[in-house]
């Protein structure tokens, strides 16, 4: 791996930062969605939805901006993946649409059937969205069939191979764990006690998936660990990853939910970093013809555009982080239902 810090590399990192931001933030609200149907009473379900109420929309903007950044910085990657994964992308859109309206519509009518319908929509669309995001990541790492014109030449069902599905399920399990810890922080009383009971199973589920994905990657995707082997100091990342994951049940055991949540965030950051290290400098691997892979040079915009975009990011992102932090600060603490809640 040769590494030069040019704008192409910077944008590889920035796109990574945006998608990691998305995973950390929308990850917990997709996770809350995936766990939603485990709560039974109407009040509990309202608490679940309102725990993410003020923030889910802003969280989703990380995906929108990540997509926009991909379009601007690596248009070939955007074009190849979005058209190549056509049906998967359309399904993801339907998932995101239903999630958005389910959150907004659910509590607007008192009817039981109405609420049940939107509860189920919210939960299923959250799970499907998480699964599809994971399947897409799995395919990008595994490699998809590309021709020399950077066009996808496979089929939709060809994307659903065991490795991609394993990464998909791992993503769901990771978001469920992350969401359970978040819900634990935002609830109190009886509901919180029940959620505490879910946390350990989700952690175990995640660790099983994590170990299987790691083994499968090491055994079947040797290219994903080539960069690690060529730069041994990077082994600090998987070590930190393992420590962060191990720390989650420890913090939960001591009742320190916020620290457990931060650990969960750290483990997700480490995982995304590992994914980035494994991919670099490629953005989409071509399989079987590796020469057709899209990387940070043959898929990028011009140096001038990357520079302009970098300036936009330098001006914009600190503001984004500042007001995201203030919003989370303003809505800190346990969920209290009132007349402006969902």
């Amino acid at each position: 791996m040769s590494f030069t810090l040019d704008f192409n590399t910077i944008w590889f990192l920035l796109v990574g930062v945006l998608f990691t931001g998305y995973a950390l933030l929308d990850g917990f609200d997709l996770g809350v969605g995936a766990l939603h149907l485990f709560t039974k009473s109407d009040t509990d379900r309202r608490v679940m939805i309102n725990s993410i109420g003020p923030v889910w929309d802003g969280n989703e903007v990380w995906l929108v901006t990540g997509g926009g950044a991909l379009f601007a910085a690596f248009p070939e990657v955007y074009a190849t993946s979005f058209s190549g994964f056509y049906m998967a992308m359309i399904l993801l859109l339907f998932g995101l649409i239903f999630r958005a309206v389910a959150i907004d519509f659910r509590s607007k009518q008192p009817s039981r059937i109405w609420r049940q319908f939107w509860d189920v929509s919210f939960s299923i669309s959250s799970i499907i969205s998480a699964l599809l995001i994971g399947v897409a990541l799995g395919n990008i790492a595994y490699g998809i069939p590309l021709d020399s014109n950077k066009e996808f030449v496979g089929s939709f069902f060809g994307l659903l191979h065991p490795y991609a599905l394993l990464v998909g399920v791992t993503t769901v399990s990771m978001f469920m764990m992350h969401g359970a810890i978040y819900a634990l922080m935002k609830t109190e009383g009886d509901l919180q006690n029940r959620i505490r009971g879910w946390v350990n199973p989700t952690i175990i589920f995640f660790i099983i998936c994590y170990v299987m994905t790691t083994l499968a990657t090491l055994l079947y995707l040797p290219h994903m660990s080539a960069n690690l082997k060529s730069a041994p100091f990077l082994f600090i990342v998987p070590v930190l990853n393992a420590l962060a994951i191990a720390n989650i049940p420890r913090e939960i055991h001591h009742g320190r939910e916020a620290r457990a949540f931060l650990s969960s965030c750290a483990s997700m950051i480490a995982l995304m970093t590992l994914f980035g290290i494994g991919m670099f400098p490629n953005l989409i691997l071509s399989n079987p013809v590796a020469a057709n892979s899209l990387h940070i040079y043959n898929a990028a915009s011009s140096a001038k555009t990357l520079k302009i975009m970098f300036i936009i990011a330098v001006i914009g992102m600190p503001m984004v982080i500042a007001y995201t932090a203030s919003i989370y600060y303003i809505f800190r603490g346990k969920v209290k239902l009132n007349e402006s809640s969902y």
Binding site: V61, L63, G68, F71, A79, D104, E151, M309, I330, S340
Partner: protein, 448 residues
Amino acid sequence: MDLEILSRVQFGLTIAFHYLFPPLSIGLGLILVIMEGMYMKTKNMMYHRMTRFWVKIFGLIFALGVATGIVMEFQFGTNWATYSRFVGDVFGSALAAEGVFAFFLESGFLAILLFGWDKVKPRTHFISTILVAFGAHLSAIWIVVANSWQQTPAGHHIVQFGDGMRAEIVDFWAVVFNPSFIDRITHVYMGAWQAGAFFVLSVAAYYVIKKKHLEFAKGSIRIALVVAVFASVMQLVTGHSSAVTVTETQPAKLAAFEGHYPASAPAGMYLFGWVDEEEENTIGVQIPGMLSFLIDFDSSTPVTGLKAFPEEDRPPVNLVFQSYHLMVAMGMLLILIALIGALGWWRGFLFKKRWLLWIFVFSVLLPMLANQLGWFSAEVGRQPWIVYGLLRTSDALSVSVGAGQVITSLILFSLIYILLGALFIYLLNEKIKKGPEGEQSSEGGARA
């Protein structure tokens, strides 16, 4: 069916449905700033109730805008991959800037606007309202930058990349301030303000007719009417200015707007008409020389007509002619309605004439439709180009996507959007029936 038609129908359907919501959130956003500003200034609780009611409606509209908006960003890649490769360097930057500068701002402060009433000081809440409205206006800027660049490309050059050609930025500010941007963003803003203002007028007039929430409704009408009059009159200015720019930059589109065929001759303006594309002839009621006059203040100035363009470079003429003329007619009608409203306020019959109130109730349909027709004219009028003069729509499709996949997604989108549209109308109606909160005591007391 053919992949190009299917992809265009899907894009048209999804953008048309999406564009029901953003103009309302932009226009209503402005009105919320005025209402909450009045509350901050006067501390009159009526303005507080007003703000709280319209914020709830705003939240519903915004949710639909978000849910349908993400579809648009994905669709350039899913259905128009070749286009995305060609324009990504230019167009993608505007889209990313929209995300970084506008969407985060909007969605972040929306949380305070909707849920922060008891969490922050009134002043912070007011600032959040301003920032949400500002964010909505800002996002329109970037998306109109991107679209205007498609209409009047500037600040770029075409270079070889890999095996193909693509557009790359040479001058960022020339891309942003491309020749049609200013005219089009102001036109979009006024259209959005009209949508917001007539929407408020419509709901509030209904309350006055039903003799419900009177104080609240009358206050809302007064604020909305000011915005409606301003935006409707200004729309004449921005519309005119847009048309002049189109003459200079996209002559084939302007010729289609007016069904003007002669290669170079003075042109009139049709009040209404029908274009016979076979015979290359337009029949209808026309003010002779009016188009030439509007462009150049001289009724004998020649205007480039469709015959100056080979047939494969012309848009579908009658379709563009009709949608453009309908838009103009609705714009004129809106000016008339707004001015009658203003006259009514001045002469004191604003809340007394039931016919006027009923006109207000239905008037919201006009800006909603005119906004749709305006975009329809602009986008169909750009055909057969997807980027004017640079890339044809037929050359911009995704290579790896088949017609069967697009039929499937198109059917699913149609079904889901019919469901969403119906639910939106239902929930909006429920909210309107419920009316503003915390009023029974004060008005009930006044009536008793």
